[in-house]
């Protein structure tokens, strides 16, 4: 079959999907962010049926499919469950790499929270190490009210 498009220059159209969007955080996350912003407290929701505390908090228990029925404060320090060190720059990154990302299980919580780990060299980060939240001095009710987690010395 002859290719009728053989000598056609391929044209490229540039555009972007840029649609402003705002997410209603819901009453559960709102309360979590208000406590973080105003009291530097990290709050989880608890399912008494499963005896599980979810941080970040969820309105319903993903394990047993019932509403979580209790708020509980958890510690601002915990254990690093896993991590990665991002080395190559990506468009999604909030700052220049290297960036250490970690999953941190706070004392009193049964799930891990995602965050940035700092104040240590990438080669010193280890699964199982203890880390502590460093609260931001300018808190606005977002996950960055915790600036990052740092090693407990």
């Amino acid at each position: 079959m002859s290719d009728i498009f053989q000598n056609v220059e391929p044209m490229v159209h540039e555009s972007r999907i840029s649609v402003p969007y705002h997410w209603w955080a819901g009453d559960t996350a709102s309360r979590f962010f208000i406590d973080l912003r105003d009291s530097q407290k990290i709050m989880g929701t608890r399912c008494s049926k499963c005896s599980k505390t979810y941080v970040p908090p969820r309105k319903t228990c993903p394990t047993c499919f019932t509403p979580n029925d209790e708020w509980r404060e958890v510690a601002s320090q915990g254990t690093l469950i896993s991590y990665t060190v991002v080395r190559r720059h990506q468009a999604s990154l909030p700052k220049k790499p290297p960036i250490i990302y970690g999953l941190i299980q706070l004392e009193g919580a049964d799930t891990a929270v995602l965050h940035i780990i700092d104040e240590l060299k990438p080669e010193d980060v280890k699964i199982g190490m203890k880390v502590q939240a460093k609260f931001s001095s300018q808190r606005k009710g977002t996950m960055f009210d915790i600036e990052y987690f740092r090693p407990v010395h």
């Binding site: 391929p10 896993s82 080395r87 990506q90 699964i127």
Partner: protein, 381 residues
């Protein structure tokens, strides 16, 4: 389950940048190849499922935009957002409903046209997680560290997956990255996100795949060579990464258990002739092999070192070269099914595995393998 078969498969070559081809061009090629493979024409297709993702396609209702090139006019067409194996599951369900004798399933994407890290970052929860800037690669890296830590699997063993799969791709004319590599080549490639080197990661790819599913009555009506669907299941884990043990894949084990049960398989490692698994990253091939019950927990790397997973090994894994050799998101899982079909029919060319009776194909949806779809295909009805 009533019987159904895959009676036609077609795919484009997987390439880094199909600059001359639109989504519709790719669908046209894959669909026409599948029809020719089945000995059918478009009038023999009773309904169509297209599989795509709006962010990857840069448009809303992306699935409808490839309809014309998939022959959907005046047909019932429905759409799945996610991996092609899930589109195929829906296509199978429609076929078994009795309303349609044949179903055409397509899946496509072009990674080359956008920015992968921005698109996969957008799959993180916007309230709690997205602002950190993680993406598919960094989350997979976190999973890899958890898996290495728990099982004592090493970076060298992970690298061996890359060596094997890129080597297999040398035999597959549809693969994007055929490469003769050494473990050192992998370990010396750029560190993207610890412990994942560049050659531990699948590439950005463009491609499309199409398959045709038929019920028992229609499966043998055409000139093609039907491959029978023996078992299929999918299962999902929790959404938030911190709710899961990232070093394990219990939802894959659950999906596999149900698929094996349906297929009457009691000893998968012995009974399955080959597996095409979703090796988006090297450690994932090892994790998925274990979660599928094809190796003991933490044992896949040792089997890999013994050569068990090569094309001539006792249980070839990704003889096509896998996702590491070409990863068009969405299409990738459907390509695993198409590769399994080719192997069962004995027309996989230079990477044909000997004596294939049962083959496994796996697809994944979501970060770090949140959801898995497992297909068992066989030669015999």
């Amino acid at each position: 389950m009533d019987r159904a078969a895959i009676i036609g498969v077609g795919m484009t070559k997987i390439e880094a940048n199909k600059v001359r081809e639109t989504f519709a061009d790719m669908a046209w090629e894959a669909v026409n190849k599948a029809l020719a493979d089945a000995g059918m024409n478009i009038g023999d297709i009773d309904n169509v499922i297209t599989t795509s993702n709006d962010f990857w396609d840069g448009r809303t209702i992306s699935c409808m935009a490839v309809g014309d090139a998939s022959g959907v006019k005046y047909k019932n067409v429905s759409c799945v957002e996610g991996d092609g194996t899930f589109g195929a599951f829906y296509g199978l369900s429609r076929t078994l409903s009795g309303s349609y004798g044949t179903t055409l399933v397509t899946a496509h994407s072009k990674g080359s046209e956008s920015v992968s890290s921005l698109i996969t970052n957008a799959s993180f929860d916007p309230i709690y997680d997205r602002a950190f800037g993680m993406d598919m690669v960094s989350s997979a890296a976190m999973q890899a560290n958890a898996y290495l830590h728990r099982t004592k699997t090493t970076a060298e063993q992970m690298a061996l997956v890359s060596v094997k799969n890129h080597g297999n791709a040398l035999l597959n004319p549809y693969a994007q990255l055929p490469m003769k590599l050494t473990v050192d080549d992998v370990l010396q490639s750029e560190m993207i996100a610890d412990p994942l080197h560049k050659l531990d990661c699948s590439p950005v790819s463009d491609g499309c795949c199409a398959i045709i599913i038929a019920n028992e009555e229609r499966a043998t009506r055409y000139a093609g060579n039907p491959v029978w669907i023996k078992g299929v299941s999918f299962c999902s884990d929790s959404f938030f990464l911190g709710d899961r043990d990232l070093s394990r894949a219990p939802s894959l084990s659950e999906a596999a258990k149900k698929a094996y049960q349906m297929a009457g398989i009691s000893n998968p490692a012995m009974e399955i002739s080959l597996a095409e698994v979703y090796d988006a990253f090297t450690h994932q091939e090892l994790m998925w092999i274990e979660a599928l019950g094809l190796a003991g927990d933490g044992e896949a790397a040792k089997e890999l070192e013994k050569g068990s997973y090569t094309i001539k090994g006792s249980l070839p894994v990704n003889p096509s070269g896998g996702l590491l050799s070409g990863h068009p998101v969405i299409a990738a899982g459907l390509i695993r099914i198409a590769e399994a079909v080719k192997q069962i029919r004995g027309n996989a060319g230079d990477y044909q595995v000997d004596g294939v009776r049962l083959a496994l194909a796996q697809g994944v949806n979501g970060l770090c393998g949140q959801s898995h779809c497992v297909w068992i295909l066989g030669k015999d009805k």
